[in-house]
Amino acid sequence: MAQKSFREAINEALHEEMARDDTVFVIGEDIAGGTGGDGEEDAWGGVMGVTKGLLGRFGSNRVIDTPISEMSYIGAAVGAAATGMRPVAELMFCDFAGCCFDQLMNQAAKLRYMLGGQAKVPLVVRMQCGGGFNAAAQHSQTLHALFTHIPGLKVVMPSNPRDAKGLLVEAIRDDDPVMFMEHKFMYDDKGDVPDEPYTIPLGIADYTRDGEDVTICALGRMVNLSNQAADELAKEGIACTVVDLRCTSPLDEESVLESLEETGRLVIVDEGYPRCGFAADVAALAARSGFGYLKAPVQTVTPPHTTIPFAPILEELYIPDVDRIKQAVKATLA
């Protein structure tokens, strides 16, 4: 199977879906490059090169550069979705959600419900998340919990190129608004990606490692760190199951609980803020529905509840790493 990067996998999904369905279009800041200025069009293909090549193939009617106003173009995308299009909007950083949160929280998430199903909002908002780039407090957050909190929004965070393509195709074809979070650290990660179109259903987790001692739940980049921790622990005789949840909404509770029933020990790894976050949510699931399985207190590996520091040394300490995951696993066995 062809090796492709995370960036190429997403690019391929966009190409395939735009070719398959002409109601699909992309919209965002600088996704075509050069609009309204003297610069070269499609020079980069968006700040991370994800939309490269779309402009030449589908034209500027379907690859729309916008002014720097999240409120306006996310609002436009919500409206387009409600009137029959399938927009894929790019929010450059998930941190900028603050500028368009009413459009997402009160419009996109609620229209279908408030209109009794007479309208639907088949919108995808792609956005970068994650720290480790020394990009400081306003460009490094991982805000999946913010979207997960809102009923009516689906939230996806892939951990590898293959899932990125399959989940994005599924998200575009889904009739509800989907927040699609791409960790900025992973665009160059390579993996097997089938050339032909395929989908991965939303809310179905994947076990990336299989072991009967401890269950590790994670999302996105944290899955890769958890895999690494599991591989190192396997050499010490500790067998971990790594549950890649893939989505926080809908959440695959079954996959968590079935593994927990087997292991009785749970570690949750997350890059989001700890309070009312993904780790707390899954820990609550274990306490609520898996209490009888637990042999040890649930461990969470998250950043501290503080703003992401700019100083590289502090940022390194801030983001969960393999050692902290290993310690947490061992704490459940102590």
Partner: protein
Amino acid sequence: MTNSIHAITMPKLGLSMTEGAVVEWRVDIGGEVKPGELIADIETSKIVNELEAQVSGALRRTVVETGVEVPVGALIAVVADADVPDASIDSFISRYTGDDGVASEPAEAPGISDVPEIQEERSSSPATGQPSAAIPESLLGDYDPQAVFASHHAHKLARRLGINLAAISGTGRAGRISKTDVEDAVKVAGGSIAPAPAVVPKPAATGGPVRTTPVARRLAKQHGIDLSDVQPTGTRGRITKGDVLRFIDRAQPTAATAAMPATESPVPNPFHEHSLSPVRKVIADRLSDSKRTAPHFRLSVDVIIDKLLELRRDIEQGGSETRVSVNDMLVRAAALALAQHPEVNIQFDGQAVRGFAHADIAVAVALDEGLVTPIVRRADQKGLIEIAGELAGLVERARIGKLMPDEFQGGTFTLSNLGMFGIKSFDAIINPPQAAIMAVGKAERRLYVGEGDSGRVATFMTVTLSCDHRVIDGAMGAGFLQTFKDILHHPGRLLL
């Protein structure tokens, strides 16, 4: 009957009041009270207030002992008509719930004993080996794992028990077969996989008005521990299970001490232990906070006060009805100096500095119960006679515990004088949120080197200023002290 029983609770006498103690009951048990009549004296931080009855009836029961602090809103007494039986009063007390939710609950709290607790792990845990299973014929068989959408653990269970997953329909998201689907299908077809976990009832929790976690309370009861002896570390001052365990640990003699022969133990020194009074507690909290957070530095200066004493004699001989003391003169002098040095006439809360237009001078007064600092407001605008009269009134009210909160809270500067105890000089701890305090020693005749290197004698007094270095620098404090000294050397200015 209950509606003629009235709860008397610890009143909230000020915004910051969270607890208080009954100093004295003003009515005997059985005595009649009417609305507006005194029931008790309540002591809070630094003041004693009177608690008046709002209802009429007989004081049937007092629930707290005098001198014991209880939270605001806690039940302290019960008033009811004389014909209400004692049993009703008892049950009223045992069922009483205060506004703050700190309540004594009945020993058999309904509902709590119904909470099930899983005592054992599931006996079908895969780690323990083969689950005991009886799989019906209809479900047995091979299947193609690629062709059936099932969860990892559904596949795993099917493989182990030889179940054909293709014969089972999934109820999960996107039609996925879960492990539960497999278990249910086996059950429906008349088979079995694992017994249900054993469930035992949880023992009922017992209640009490002490601030503890339920587990700590139960543990203390088991070990016969008086919870008031345990040091709480939990949230909102609660005693936790860990606190009780630590207490038990400490109470148990170690092997070494237990083995020590009794004859070698020293004769114990008898001691008396008591908890801090509210006044003492406030002093302890505020001053340790001040000493910890405010970097103190001290400046001392010797002042010759012969002219000051002369002025005082003149005033006395002038036939003034109000006696003006040296201390009154020092209050006036400090106020005038502060008016010239507004950078010292301040309050500081750790964030912002408040500069005041007038000098509100707090004067430390020693009482048996502890220190209070009544305040002479706008002392820079008041004459000596007025200051003397006002201060005498404040000290008198402080002695009988009748100071109002606004008479001792605030202030921009404090004066503390231990001269009457023969103290030569001392330094004082700043009274927050103020930023400086002046410590005055005794007046004494001293030999000193005067003009032309000749020996002279004069009446001296050593004054020490403690400053909070976060907001007052050395030169600022020194400038103020210089002005203060200058005024005392030219005491006529005190009359301006």
